[in-house]
Amino acid sequence: MKRQPLQRRTLAVLVVIIPLFALFVYVALSSGPLAPVSVTVETVKARSIHPVLFGIGTIEARYTYKIGPITTGRIQSLAVHVGDRVTAGQVLGEMDPVDFEARIRSREATLKHAQAILREARARQAYAQTQAHRYEQLLAARSTSEEIASTKRQELQIANAALSAAQEDLSRAQADLAATVVQRENLRFVAPAEGLVAVRDADPGTTVAAGRAVLEIIDPKSLWIHTRFDQISASGLTAGLPAHIALRSRSGQSLTGHVFRVEPRADAVTEEMLAKVVFDSQPLLLPPVGELAEVTIDLPALPLAPVIPNAAVHHHDGRIGVWRIEAGALRFTPVRLGAADLSGQVQVLVGLKAGDQVVVYSEQALHAYSRFRLVEHIPGLAQ
């Protein structure tokens, strides 16, 4: 009976000590460098993928008409405002003509003056003609001297020359008047085509330099998207491919379109390819020019090939490859990758075949000697 309390104590000590040491061993093995790395694996499947190109661009109008004065001056009137629709030939406004009216009147007076001169020249010529004719007859009848007759002939020649000079003067005055009238017409802003006023840069009374655009008219039917694709992921970009367009202001709404043309010049500084994408049908509500748009372009489906998620692609020892599980150990297999789609699936050209097991997610960077544990999800992730 004397040993009883001792045994109970021993038992109690063991009850405390053994779980403590068991916990210690568990802690030592499940954390720190001795712990296995949780990994998830996936079986490589032969699948056909639809590569998709992704680019961003801004809405631009294919035709933009910038209307402004060709001489420096002051704006007298502007009849249209931003948002107004205009038709071809519509007068949109006018520059201040300043002295144009007076100049036209002056030219008209000059014209009338030239007409009067012409009339005078005609009268002189008619008289000279008659005189010349009469003296010819008198000379033939020997009633006048040769000298007087030749003087009359010379007077007729002078009158003829004066007449043609007066005629040319009249033409010049007419042309001057026409030119001034045309210049006066040119002070008007006329819409060259049907469109929408997008910019009104100055108001009546403003003095503008020659060549500065006062109004900008765009053709809303010609909206397209100037799209930029990173050169590294733009293989297969050609005209005619179908595109999905997501406008920044209409998230969740996808419009359809297609590639109108791929620009022959790429952007050398930003390393991007440029393309124009047009809408298949005009959106009911026109997007504003300059709005940001995301463009995804569907490429034709590729033939069947082994496909892996891009999270499985690792860089190890200077090579691109995947971690495979072979006979319970990790092995790094270099691969050559092909096309990829936007959902993260990549074709493997060389290095894997369908049915291989590859590591997709891992808790830490892997090494050939890493201990690992297969799991469904990496622990610690909020689901």
């Binding site: 000590i17 992704f54 500084v269 997610y361």
Partner: protein, 400 residues
């Protein structure tokens, strides 16, 4: 032969175990402090590991990109690629900022990664969920520590990004989780801060008569366009071809490209020796004091435990127990206390390390050396106690 120490421990096992647990918690704190220090150093090292680079090319005469700001033209990488020994070169940007998600914001380091797919330097080397970035804009891969989930929409400066993948242990040297976004977006995020700033900048330029000239109507637009683009990156990450020495390539880059380049070991020196030096020293100092205090407390505990048994020891001496046996008992008890303390300490440190906001790295090496030091302290402390015990007069046993 019966174990005197075992019998003594069993005699007062509750007291012994509780003392051990108390001691263990103290040791746990010391181990955690060591773990905090190692975690800081490890944050720096994983930053370098995760970038996947052999060399870092930065602005001339700077310690960039982590310890100092550095900016170089984003086309510098083309020239670097052409140098002998360079296998891959990729632009990268780093920007520590607040990322908004709904109502909350998270402090994170935004990394702009060059396009090209997994395996390019700078890309996250492994994921725990989701996928790598496939679109050239507005996608992000975030670290688990940010608390973001897959398909979350997060806001970085002016744009919304979709979280498509999650990583683990991708942190900056100060422990901020990383968020990876495409390089072009990151360049824009570094420069185009917010709409207000852009508008104000435009207004400022427009008010400058040198740029807003009526005779040259397009000048203002040209100036604004040229001022609102950002052709800079923070560093170029370089991977070497096999067989080339990093130092030689560094020399070539510094000489011919007139940029500064660092090898992995130099970068480690910069991060650990300069960037986190003072905070690491602070923690290190605290660790030293904590270790000294712990040692003193362990010594006191063992000493007082022994003094508490001084009467029993006197009895033992009285009945003719050898000094060696008594010394052995005290030392065994001290070591036993140390072992229990270590076990409790290690367990508690492992569990509470998980709830620390920053990474706590409990290294096996630290635990091992901690154990050795603890045993030495226990032995030293027991020697003082043994000295006291052996000096005791057997007459005390009979009430003297």
């Amino acid at each position: 032969m019966i174990s005197l120490a075992g019998r003594d421990i069993l005699h007062a096992w509750g007291k012994f175990i509780f003392t051990g647990i108390g001691l263990g918690l103290l040791i746990g704190v010391t181990l955690t402090m060591a773990g905090v220090y190692r975690g800081m150093v490890d944050d720096g090292k994983v930053l370098l590991d995760n970038s996947g680079a052999d060399l870092w090319v930065v602005q001339k005469n700077t310690l960039g990109p982590y310890a100092e700001s550095s900016s170089l033209y984003d086309d510098s990488y083309r020239g670097i690629l052409a140098l002998p020994g360079v296998a891959q070169a990729a632009n990268v940007t780093y920007l520590t900022m607040q990322i908004r998600q709904g109502e909350n914001d998270v402090r994170a380091m935004v990394v702009g990664i060059a396009p090209g797919g997994a395996g390019i330097p700078g890309w996250p080397p492994y994921l725990v969920a989701g996928r790598q970035i496939t679109r050239s804009h507005y996608e992000a891969v975030a670290d688990m520590a940010t608390g973001f989930k897959l398909d979350d929409r997060i806001q970085i400066r002016r744009n919304d990004y979709t979280v498509v993948g999650l990583t683990r242990r991708m942190v900056s040297s100060s422990g901020d989780p990383m968020v990876f976004i495409p390089l072009k977006d990151a360049q824009e995020a570094q420069f185009l801060k917010d709409n207000d700033a852009i508008l104000q900048n435009r207004r400022r330029i427009a008010e400058n008569p040198a740029f807003n000239r009526p005779a040259i109507p397009d000048l203002l637009d040209t100036v604004i366009t040229s001022q609102s683009s950002n052709p800079y990156v923070n560093a170029v990450l370089v991977r070497l071809k096999p067989g080339y020495a990093a130092d030689e390539v560094v020399e070539v880059i510094q000489r011919w490209k007139r940029l500064t380049a660092y090898t992995r070991s130099q970068m480690e020196d910069i991060l650990i020796g300069k960037l986190i030096a003072t905070s690491a020293q602070q923690i290190g100092m605290f660790l030293v004091i904590l270790a000294v205090v712990s040692a003193a407390i362990i010594a006191f505990i063992i000493y007082t435990l022994t003094l508490g048994k001084i009467r029993e020891i006197a009895v033992l001496k009285l009945i003719g127990t050898k000094n060696r046996t008594i010394a052995g008992m005290i030392m065994q008890e001290a070591l036993g206390l140390g072992v229990i303390g270590f076990v409790v300490g290690k367990i508690s440190a492992t569990f509470w390390a998980l709830i620390f906001p920053k990474y706590v790295l409990l290294e096996l090496r630290d635990a091992f050396s901690g154990f050795i030091v603890l045993m030495i302290i226990c032995v030293l402390a027991s020697i003082i106690a043994i000295h006291a015990a052996l000096k005791v007069d057997p007459a005390e046993a009979i009430g003297g």
